[in-house]
């Protein structure tokens, strides 16, 4: 059984067709890439999967259950988490409290167990010394890691990562990539990454979905995608006929 099945999901905003019958299947413990030019509908697709937006039609099966239209907080508790562009964290709360909120969503655990889990996540992302620092006083890379740790609080089986690379130096990018790989390997989490930086997506994804104008135009292994005509056309426009490949 697939971990996530998106079936013919469509979403309109007034006259704009943000998503048109998008379908994709996601397996367990893999890293996927979701790419496409600006305005392709990647963030919209994420928001629909997460529960922030309701799809106009289609089904979204997570672990076999249709979660389309369910409220976001219930979806998170089921084990579907996400991080957002520009590292959204609770700015007025400490790093510890940020992660604690994610862990608390699991429910009944004792305070001691919750604290243990928070410390474990602080360790994973390397923010142990900053645990009492307010999120607004952390640097951008630190906030991105905090965002990840917060999302991991509920031990999600699926993690959606929306453009985590912008604003990071090459070393920091490498760190984040390693972190994501570790999340997959150690926690068994499936990760779907939306990214614009091609070398990052190509180097870490095992399978890639490509969106353009709200439609899925291609999917496949990274190698195939770079050679796919439709994908190249989507990014570079029609006048690529004369480029040697």
């Amino acid at each position: 059984m697939y971990l996530l099945e998106v079936k013919d999901v469509s979403k309109k905003f007034g006259g704009v067709k943000a998503l048109q019958k998008v379908s994709l299947n996601v397996e367990k413990q893999k890293i996927y890439g979701l790419i496409g030019p600006n305005g392709a509908g990647k963030s919209t697709l994420f928001k629909v999967i997460m529960g922030i937006l309701k799809p106009d039609e289609g089904k979204i099966l997570f672990k076999g259950e249709n979660i389309a239209g369910r409220p976001a907080h219930k979806i998170y508790k089921m084990g579907l988490a996400c991080t957002f562009q520009l590292a959204t964290v609770f700015l007025d709360l400490s790093a510890f409290d940020n992660i604690r909120l994610g862990v608390m969503a699991c429910g009944k655990d004792s305070d001691k167990k919750i604290d243990e889990r928070v410390n474990e996540l602080l360790n994973l992302v390397g923010l142990v010394e900053k645990k009492n620092v307010l999120a607004k006083n952390l640097t951008l890379p630190e906030r991105k890691k905090l965002d990840l740790a917060r999302a991991l609080g509920v031990s999600p089986e699926l993690l959606l990562v929306d453009e985590i690379v912008p604003g990071l130096t090459p070393t920091e990018v490498a760190n984040v990539i390693e972190l994501i790989k570790r999340i997959r390997d150690v926690y068994g989490t499936t990760v779907i990454m939306v990214e614009h930086v091609m070398r990052v997506v190509m180097s870490v994804s095992e399978w890639i979905f490509v969106l353009n104008h709200g439609e899925k135009i291609a999917e496949g292994a990274p190698r195939e995608i770079t050679r796919n005509e439709l994908v190249v056309k989507a990014y570079l426009g029609d006048k690529t006929k004369n480029i040697n490949r």
């Binding site: 976001a72 996400c82 609770f90 007025d92 709360l93 604690r100 909120l101 608390m104 969503a105």
Partner: protein, 306 residues
């Protein structure tokens, strides 16, 4: 040990205030009103400070509590000191009924919340039974003693400060703080945002209703222009902001500063006090948007030292 002794001394002074002020009813009433403002701000602090929901229409609960307290006192022939608690429950019921308003956000909630006291004002103003523009009054023959109001006010203030303190440290308080920071992120982190806002809203409404009853009892009357005045919400917001919004000491410090400042202004500029109060408020909002705690004391001290 030192701190404990100072606190005990402070507590003793607090408890003995009526003794000192027994022959100065004017100042006694001022102190009672100060306690009232602190308690009222602390109640608002729950939904407005912790959860950062700008529900400025809090006069709706204050007035409703005041009116219900006095009405029930007259109808059931019970003393207001008992009916004020029922006034609180009535405000709670009102809060449940209007709770869908919590789906509004930020500015829309702020403006939208003003419709509550507005509607209640209209209903009250136009109804003979409720005394229309003259309001309703309590028979002054009942038990009326300033020390009673003082101790009652002290208890209410103490209870509200304690509740806020415990709330802030609780898991529920953390969720409210998260909602205050970023509502959408809170929702995406497993917090049922509407439920949490709803609970905070009920708490604020309940205590505001009780305090409304307290106010009606103290004034021996409830007048629509007074208890449904939209300015209440703005006052409470400012008190919390001045003292430090979302903190337990915020209403205490802010209440003291605001109350003393507005009294000083009222005494000094009898004719134009509202104008100067307005100027004071604008200056606070423009120059000290984070209140007392936002002031960079270190910078000021180092500048003074030269």
């Amino acid at each position: 040990m030192q701190v404990k002794n100072i606190l005990l001394l402070f507590l003793a002074v607090l408890l003995l205030v009526p003794v000192f002020l027994s022959h100065a009813p004017y100042y006694f009433r001022i102190i009672i009103m100060l306690l009232f403002y602190i308690a009222l701000s602390q109640a608002w602090n729950i939904v407005g400070g912790l959860a950062r929901q700008p529900f400025i229409g809090v006069a709706g609960f204050l007035g409703f509590g005041a009116y219900m307290t006095i009405l029930l006192a007259k109808l059931l022939l019970l003393p207001p000191i008992l009916t004020m608690w029922i006034g609180g429950v009535c405000s709670l019921a009102l809060a449940v009924i209007i709770s869908p308003i919590l789906k509004l956000r930020a500015d829309f909630l702020a403006i939208g919340s003003l419709t509550i006291p507005g509607i209640l004002y209209s209903i009250t103003y136009n109804s003979e039974i409720l005394g229309s523009c003259n309001g309703i009054a309590i028979n002054p023959d009942i038990l009326y003693s300033l020390p009673l109001f003082y101790y009652l006010g002290l208890i209410l203030t103490g209870v509200l400060c304690y509740i806020f303190y415990r709330l802030q440290k609780s898991d529920f308080g953390l969720r409210l703080a998260a909602i205050g920071c970023d509502q959408d992120l809170a929702e995406a982190t497993g917090i049922s945002v509407f439920s949490a806002k709803f609970m905070a809203f009920l708490l604020t409404a309940f205590f505001t209703g009780i305090l409304g009853g307290f106010y009606g009892y103290l004034m021996l009357a409830a007048l629509p222009d007074d208890v449904y005045n939209l300015f209440w919400g703005i006052q409470l917001l400012l008190i919390c902001v001045i003292g430090g919004i979302g903190t337990v000491y915020g209403p205490i410090i802010g209440g003291a500063i605001f109350f003393l400042a507005s009294h000083f202004i009222q005494i000094t500029f009898v004719e134009l006090h509202k104008l100067f109060l307005g100027i004071f408020l604008i200056m606070v909002v423009v120059f000290f948007p984070e209140g007392i705690i936002g002031i960079d004391w270190k910078k000021i001290f180092s500048k003074l030292k030269g």
